[in-house]
Symmetry: C2
């Protein structure tokens, strides 16, 4: 029989590439961490379940605890894709191995982590892009609709715009761009080789081209500069919209955040703060804030 003192907490941050778990004891002290594979609930709910479980099992192992202790874990889980209702429902229906599970989006736990659970906003620019703000206990969400129709200024968006521009250049139906040579070095050929390489490519493969766009823009390429400027104008607007919801400040996080933070507008930059903690810490806050309720419910 379990007692409250034996409870464990896990904060889980699941994205399209990796899933990270942070384990804490009943008093909230960090005792282990684990990493597993992709966990986008909309793209593949089954894989997301596997990755969440694996990341927590690895964190248990890291803490020197046996796998069976997973049944003592109150998990706070933030996953990419659960903003889509059907994906959320597929995850909620899961007969998970935890004592309890709190589920929300990867963006919301990033926001909780960035501001330690206090009011504030976050913008994530990595493979995808999205923003949200917690203001007086209420959530506001922007973007995060996914590839190929949204996630402007994300890595995947930079890659898609680059491929679009290069194909127009190959046909001499768009302005010349050094991206053509840069992408040829990646994909090794003409337009048809590029298309074959990128066809049905996951967002991450498009995102792998993003650094080329930023470098070409820095080297003065007009087309790349146009893409970068358009992306950063959107990013600035996104930050200011979160501010307008009442967020005292906005943290800019994700793989592209460092390279883009110097390119946003001055009024957007004035709102930006460093994130206090990473998303898995936000997920841990979610787990711990829910624990009293869950303990009373399941004991």
């Amino acid at each position: 029989m379990q007692t409250e003192a034996e409870l464990l907490y896990a904060g889980v941050d699941g994205g399209g590439t990796r899933c990270r778990a942070l384990l804490a004891d009943a008093r909230g002290r960090h005792i282990g961490a684990g990493i597993a594979g992709s966990a986008n609930a909309f793209q593949d709910a089954r894989q997301a379940r596997i990755s969440v479980t694996e990341a927590v099992l690895r964190a248990l192992s890291d803490a020197g605890l046996p796998s069976r202790r997973i049944s003592s874990v109150v998990a706070g889980v933030g996953l990419a894709g659960v903003n889509i209702r059907s994906a959320f429902e597929r995850m909620i229906e899961w007969e998970h191995p935890f004592r309890d599970m709190q589920l929300t989006t990867d963006i919301e736990i990033a926001c909780l982590g960035a501001h330690g659970g206090a009011s504030g906003g976050v913008v994530v620019v990595g493979t995808g892009s999205a923003g949200c703000a917690l203001v007086d206990g209420e959530w506001h969400s922007l973007g995060g609709y996914g590839f190929p129709f949204a996630d402007k200024c994300s890595g995947a968006w930079f890659g898609l715009e680059a491929v679009r521009a290069v194909l127009l250049d190959f046909d001499e139906l768009g302005p010349g761009t050094s991206l053509r040579t840069l992408l040829r070095d990646e994909t090794g050929g003409g337009p048809l080789e590029l298309v074959e390489f990128m066809s049905a490519a996951p967002p991450a493969r498009f995102a792998s081209l993003a650094p080329l766009v930023i470098e070409a823009a820095e080297d003065g390429d007009t087309v790349a500069r146009g893409i970068l400027d358009e992306g950063c104008a959107y990013l600035s607007d996104l930050i200011l919209r979160l501010k307008a919801f009442g967020a005292p400040s906005v943290a800019l996080v994700g793989g592209l955040s460092r390279r883009l933070s110097s390119r946003i507008s001055a009024d957007a930059a004035a709102c930006v703060v460093e994130a206090k903690r990473a998303a898995e810490h936000g997920a841990l806050l979610l787990a711990m804030s829910a624990s009293t309720m869950s303990a009373s419910k399941t004991n």
Copy 2:
């Protein structure tokens, strides 16, 4: 044993949605026609093989001929997707049921049909978009690289740009557009319902939104007008590039051609002519032009 007089010819036009076959006797008289399902060799080479075979079998049946006569058929086949080398090779490796098969792209047979095999250009604007020209026996090709990175001014491109614009409007991070209401009527909800409906949608589903964009533009919606103008500017440039290769005239064909032909630039419009015949007629020309060679090869 077969004799030359017993030869049959089939012209086959295979696209992402349908595959059409036109059957002719040894003297080139049309004796039957057949339609089967999708035949995009890049998306699904196996399905393309099935659809090509079915369309020809139906044309044989339509002509009152038994299925076994398929072995007498010299087939000229134009397929979407065979501009990609790997797709072309998968089709060429096929142990097809025909006496002989000549394979090229759906765009080239459209061009052969449009100009009766003479020099000229063609631009196809349907679910996808592409152009090519035959000038003094030499082929020139533009576009046709596919969704989501190319095929500007195609139905799928109009749909993608509409979804992009509507998602920005939902977030109030882009200009307001009546497309938001029009798409809600199609997909029934807010941005997340729209994303769920369109996620992993085939190009044809994006293309189904194209008429909404054109209607909204005609009704004065600024965003829709911007998309339509950008598409038609590309279309005009595409026509003029084919003209610059030396094409005496350019035929504009495909499901969107009638709605877009009045919107191209005056200098582009001056090059445009009506297509003489449909793509399957071009494929039949391909089959018949190859027949002497194939007969001597296979007899």
